[in-house]
Symmetry: C2
Subunit: 230 residues, 2 copies
DNA sequence: TATATTTGATATGTAGTACATAAGTGCATT
DNA sequence: AATGCACTTATGTACTACATATCAAATATA
């Protein structure tokens, strides 16, 4: 009655638990049958019986899928597929506290790359209102140092927001703690030669590449740090 | 004996299960005590008793953390903290099959942004050997259409690889299926004016911005599609 | 007939017991 | 000291029991 399917190409012994196997089988099934959000699923007992395991094991597997938002359960109604909030789940993992330094640095670089590629999404969707909003934020740039980070976040966050790409915006928000963490690890905070106001001016010219170069200057201190690590 | 901590700012009623609560409490504890990989954890029974819940509930919560690679368990040795493989877990979520179209499109754009920001990581770390490897891949560009996608993947994948940023590289690999999926959704496959060979030539000049503009041309068909959706 | 109420059935959520299995620990024997 | 044995312990799995929420059908009511 072992559900260990014969397709089990003998990989490194790694002892999978039943819950692991059931989880995989369920995912596999969902995909094969092309379940869509809202579709009803069998009951826990039915799954347990058809897989030949205890309800306990099935519940452990379902608990995982539930956490990821892949399925939802109501008391009597049974289970239904749900549309998982990918980024929400991803957020649970992006805790600087449990990421090794090498990966933190990688993510730091990833953010820089995003920032440099952003203009190509930004400019096609930029309006005068957007520029006005950015200008307002940039005007607060020179207040007390306590709020400097806040202001950084507000300004760059706004840039992502303007792209209209919700996923990108949320992704950036999630990277913020990591960015802050890595920056805090390093020594003195240096400002780039180009300020937020300078960036707004470049935006207003409508010259995408000029803006990109401005952004590069704005981020220069961070890029310079990277060089030292090579 | 309700473990519902008072810090529970009253959010929408959302009925959390005990497993949800225990999971949150455990994470909270791990962070508070600054557990590091390898540190030993209490036994399931101890957790259950100290939290006032059944071992079943604790196991469901631990099962989730285990899936994410946050903890590891051995038969008698008890549990220890582990270093989670963020991207590995993220991969489980990035299945085009269960992501809604809006998000798919967002991710598609995200990839384009990455590609356009890449030069700033690429050039500082580029060597002659890298260029040679890219050239070799580009040479295969014009073979049968069956392999065109393969070749695309190989070339762009190589670019990410050259950055030396493992996380970025893996992230890009994970986005590939989504990219392919979205492209397949759209109509005719059009090639940009600039081929891979053209990009290699630009690389060789050492002119970062020229290369970036080349990349923009290479990706032009994709960017154009975006415009239509605005 | 249509609406409201009650009742019953059902699936999930939680608790608890039991036992198999793996893996340390320490004792005993050589 | 090294090997082998029994003992202990924590996880993995199975099973039972019951609370709770909710759907559905039957009943009562206007």
């Amino acid at each position: 009655m072992l559900p260990l399917d014969a397709s089990n190409n003998l990989e490194p012994i790694l002892s999978k638990t039943m819950a692991d196997i059931v989880e995989a089988r369920l995912r596999e099934n969902f995909r094969k049958r092309n379940y869509k959000p809202g579709d009803a699923l069998p009951t826990e007992m039915e799954m347990a019986q058809s897989l030949g395991v205890s309800r306990n094991v099935v519940r452990e597997a379902l608990s995982r899928l539930r956490m990821l938002g892949i399925v939802e359960t109501k008391k009597k109604r049974g289970m239904v597929m749900a549309k998982p909030d990918i980024l929400g789940s991803f957020e649970k993992l992006l805790d600087p506290f449990m990421i090794d330094e090498a990966t933190l640095r990688d993510i730091f670089e990833l953010r820089l790359v995003l920032e440099m590629g952003l203009p190509d999404l930004l400019f096609p969707r930029l309006t005068d209102e957007h520029v006005a909003e950015l200008e307002k934020i940039a005007a607060d740039e020179l207040t007390a140092d306590n709020f400097r980070i806040q202001n950084e976040i507000a300004f760059h966050g706004k840039l992502y927001e303007i792209t209209g790409n919700q996923t990108l915006k949320r992704f950036q928000s999630m990277l913020l703690p990591i960015f802050a963490y890595v920056v805090a690890l390093e020594e003195k905070p240096i400002r780039g030669k180009i300020s937020h106001s300078g960036l707004v001016d470049l935006l207003r010219t409508g010259n995408k590449e000029a803006f990109r170069q401005g952004m590069l200057e704005h981020l220069r201190p961070h890029f310079d740090r990277l060089q030292h690590q090579l």
